[in-house]
Symmetry: D3
């Protein structure tokens, strides 16, 4: 599930934890990806829309927002849909949050080949 959603970015996060908090890598795989993402009640596309929205609104976790913009592309969200989600956050968390979300999206999109 981690591979399917986050691709290489997810593996990089897990690898990066091996030296400092290896058990946390286990929790990260087990709870979010094993328990939550695998649940049948919501499709993966909707799950990533929810995460991109939340991290854009919180505005204090740029690395994870970028991983999940990439994950949204991986599970089938179009770039236009992602932009719409981020723009909508201007209404609920203010224009600065949306502007910084759009900057993150521009950076992630530049590294992805899919249109």
């Amino acid at each position: 599930m981690l591979d399917k959603v986050d691709g290489n970015a997810g593996q990089a996060v897990v690898e990066g934890l091996r030296d400092i908090a290896p058990d946390f890598a286990t929790y990260l795989v087990e709870f979010p990806f094993g328990d939550i993402y695998s649940r049948p009640g919501l499709d993966l596309k909707s799950r990533e829309i929810a995460v991109v929205a939340a991290l854009t609104a919180l505005g204090n976790a740029a690395p994870q927002l970028k991983v999940h913009i990439g994950a949204a592309l991986n599970v089938g969200c179009g770039k236009e849909e992602i932009i719409e989600v981020i723009m909508q956050m201007a209404v609920y968390a203010g224009f600065p949050a949306a502007l910084n979300g759009l900057s993150a999206a521009r950076e992630v999109f530049a590294k992805h080949a899919n249109p």
Copy 2:
């Protein structure tokens, strides 16, 4: 659009502003609902999933979270989908945010007849 998404709750918010900030009611109709919700690039169901996720994660706007849990039901989200979105926020904003979101959902669901 306001009626379609928020139903009576949206009208109540607009009416409540008439005495203290009538122009703000106009902005609320024009920018979020006129400009953003009407855009074709994302369906209304996904838009409400994004809002429920963001307001659950922020955790500081309970009245608006309840309005949008109701709005999610209005535009076709199932109760199970809404619960999944809120539960997922435990991963991104912590268990307290998700627990308080679930309390809001219980309250809103109790007032809605649809299964």
Copy 3:
């Protein structure tokens, strides 16, 4: 300075701390009011505009927001100016923050006689 800015509300806060954290009442008088508010570089009206803006944007300290909307009235801000500050926060912290700020203002204004 506490009396001038917050009036009875400030005294009530200080009194309320006597049983549980009396030293904190001392710090509250000394640092914010003794050190900060007394500084000559910014007038009290601008100071209260800054506080109302910040507490509206943060959205997680409703009791203190109400005290400072009252304080803004006490130091000479007009109701219209306070409403403008709160409305403007929709741009920087989202519409829910502004809506909840306006609710706080309505409640405080109802208790104040000055026009």
Copy 4:
């Protein structure tokens, strides 16, 4: 572990989830209490100090802050220590966060018999 830390309050949270999100009750027991609290690297008193500090600083999860002020008492923190932790948050998250944390502590202390 849930019983030891949260006592009846923890059981009440778990019971309250049975109707709306029963699996979330399972996650709540498994990840925070099964995985995290049981780890040997930090004593329970320090864990509760960390939680009371974090929830006071975040300022958007009052019900959970109260549960954990009670939990801090349950695992051996003195009332004075809890007050010190909350007061210290004035430095890192502002006086309103600390004042609201002190109000929560007053309410919880009133229900606990231990000195």
Copy 5:
């Protein structure tokens, strides 16, 4: 209004959106600057004091805080007044928020010639 308040920084933000979210540039000009800043009930200096306070307190939008510290200078705030606003946020959002706001101010002031 955008030019008057934000100067070149505002134009740069709008230009930067042309490739990824051109409609958002339109909304940014229309709602905050067309609707809000142009309202007569609050002078521009007070509006920028409110924004600098809010963005300092939120602490999660450094690029926009810098734009608005510059905007505050553009509409006639003195450097001392801006420093006072940011320092005051230590009381309402904690010392870290104020320290990071002061760092932003130092950076912006270094690029501005006016005393």
Copy 6:
């Protein structure tokens, strides 16, 4: 007290304020370190656990989090204890906050020789 807790990092913060806000350096020494840290009701180790927890959870003050991870080491916290505090914040503020806290810890630990 500032030297004892923060070591060189604290002095650097104070020095950095001399040009832009010298009085704020005074407040920083007087209120947090003079008033709060010197209080007898809570040991310094517990105080730093509280601060590391709060700044990890808030997620918007990376420079100060790093200073206080160093301060925690200075007053006798073990690296394992600090990692446990940060990991625990995944429960209360989400996995992104904990992941970013762990990155901060890795950076600080690399500069400290003590095991």
